[in-house]
């Protein structure tokens, strides 16, 4: 009986205050794909994350080889997907820097590059 009480207490402690089960939002995939090349300049960058995001605290920046921003407008967030329009028109390497807040308040960030043209 004592063991059952201990197990029940630990379970209650673990669950105390738990509202939802979520986790760090990690980049699952992107389009254009991470580290890959596309023939023509994409009009939009799409990022898929492993968890739902808080739109107000999730953002992305895309820069060209000279460091100029080429993302055009505010990124849109729907669930775990973030999209931002691009005005990249020239061949070259573009760097994507993202910073997101998952709905459970964990922040994560990262960066990657993709190429336009061969």
């Amino acid at each position: 009986m004592r063991n059952i009480s201990i197990i029940a207490s630990v379970a209650a402690f673990l669950l105390l205050g738990t509202v939802a089960v979520t986790a760090h939002a990690y980049l699952d995939r992107a389009e254009p794909r991470v580290g890959n090349a596309v023939r023509t300049a994409p009009r939009e960058l799409t990022l898929w994350f492993t968890q739902n995001l808080e739109p107000a605290f999730s953002t992305v920046a895309v820069t060209d080889e000279s460091g100029q921003r080429v993302d055009a407008g505010k990124p849109s967030v729907s669930g775990s997907v973030m999209r931002v329009p691009l005005r990249a028109t020239r061949p070259g390497t573009y760097r994507v820097m993202w910073h997101v807040l998952s709905v459970d308040t964990h922040t994560t960030e990262g960066n990657f590059s993709f190429r336009v043209g061969e």
Binding site: F13, L14, L15, L16, G17, T18, V19, A20, V21, T22, A23, H24, Y26, L27, D28, R29, A30, R33, V34, G35, N36, T50, Q51, E54, F57, T59, A61, T63, G67, R69, V70, D71, A72, G73, K74, P75, V84, T93, M97, H99, L101, D104, T105, H106, T107, T108, E109, G110, N111, F112, S113
Partner: protein
């Protein structure tokens, strides 16, 4: 068995057991995730639980050893945390030893660890951690090797990802290294039972890891199967050497090299490694270790998975959108 070999084997046993009690953190540094490791510790404080960790090793001079351990790590504040660890051990005498006797079993000494996060630098993927490991003497069973004296081991930990290398480095950017070095100080200098001095030991460990999740999210998406993209192949090494109060004790470095792999999910990870002794004093055959590790901060973000005191750092935007620029992008 000569006394000298027993001492060396006990040192090997100590390093085989202590790491069980210290694999404990969920560690994001920028785009880099350092998984909780099985033999050494990662460089972050977090709310985590390893249960169980099971191990088979040959470091015990009295026979083949089986361990089942668990540890629970809790942040007190955002940057300070404690870990409580316990390991149950069974030692079975080898069949060819001529020893006819029952297996010995019982708990190892209780271990608690206090750690402070010194640095987490996202752009350089660098994390630094300082801590102290307390092993409480007389809290375990002498029959399985638990010693009657306590030890304190001030320890420094680091982790460094190579994601900051130029793009031309390619796959190399998915590598990371971690390490820890500590100085083990016993609360006694002489073992009255065996009549031997109790040495102070330098203990250190390191890991080299290749992150498939990082490769996919930050270097190149190769379109590999999802299971592969969750793997982190890893090689860990853990070592110890007596450096003071070692009169009559040969200077023998004991340790193991552990190749293995960790599968990383959103809420837990599973790891398995081989345990390869570096010399005879460290063990006589290859062992194995496996661990289920739970990310309590992700499973219960509004309950036990957050610091007891204070609030987490408020979220912020590192840069605005293109039409309303905020702070400059990373690296500027």
């Amino acid at each position: 068995m000569p006394t000298r070999m027993v001492r060396a084997a006990l040192a090997g046993l100590a390093i085989a057991i202590v790491p069980l009690a210290n694999a404990n953190a969920h560690c994001f540094v920028g785009g880099r995730f350092f998984p909780a490791m099985l033999a050494t510790d990662d460089p972050c404080v977090a709310d985590e639980m390893s249960s169980p960790t099971v191990q088979w090793n040959s470091a015990n001079p009295n026979g083949r050893e089986h361990d089942v351990g668990g540890d629970f790590a809790k942040r007190i504040t955002e940057n300070f945390g404690i870990t409580v660890s316990s390991t149950w051990t069974r030692v079975r005498p080898p069949a060819d030893s001529g020893t006819v006797g029952p297996s010995a079993y019982g708990f190892q000494n209780l271990v608690t660890t206090a750690q402070f996060q010194v640095l987490k630098d996202a752009p350089s993927e660098l994390a630094l951690l300082a801590g102290a490991i307390f092993s409480w003497g007389n809290s375990g069973a002498a029959g399985v090797g638990a010693v009657p004296w306590s030890t304190i081991t001030p320890t420094f930990y680091f982790g460094k990802g190579f994601g900051g290398l130029p793009d031309s480095a390619g796959f190399m950017r998915a590598f990371a290294v971690t390490g820890q070095v500590g100085y083990e100080i016993p609360t006694t200098s002489f073992d009255l039972v065996s009549g031997n001095p109790v040495p102070q030991n330098l203990v250190w460990g390191t890991s080299l890891q290749f992150s498939m999740p990082y490769l996919r999210s930050s270097v190149i998406d190769l379109g590999l199967p999802d299971f592969i993209n969750h793997l982190i192949p890893i090689v860990e090494g853990q070592f110890a050497a007596p450096v003071a109060n070692k009169s009559g004790i040969d200077f023998v470095i004991t340790g193991t090299v552990n190749p293995g792999v960790i599968w990383v999910g959103n809420y837990f990870q599973v790891g398995v490694e081989a345990i390869v002794p570096v010399n005879r004093a460290s063990g006589t055959s290859i062992g194995a270790i496996a661990q289920l590790h739970l990310y309590l901060d992700d499973m219960f973000p509004r309950g036990i998975g957050r610091p007891l005191l204070g609030n987490a750092a408020p979220p912020m935007l590192p840069f605005g959108n293109a039409s309303t620029p905020g702070r400059p992008p990373f690296g500027n």
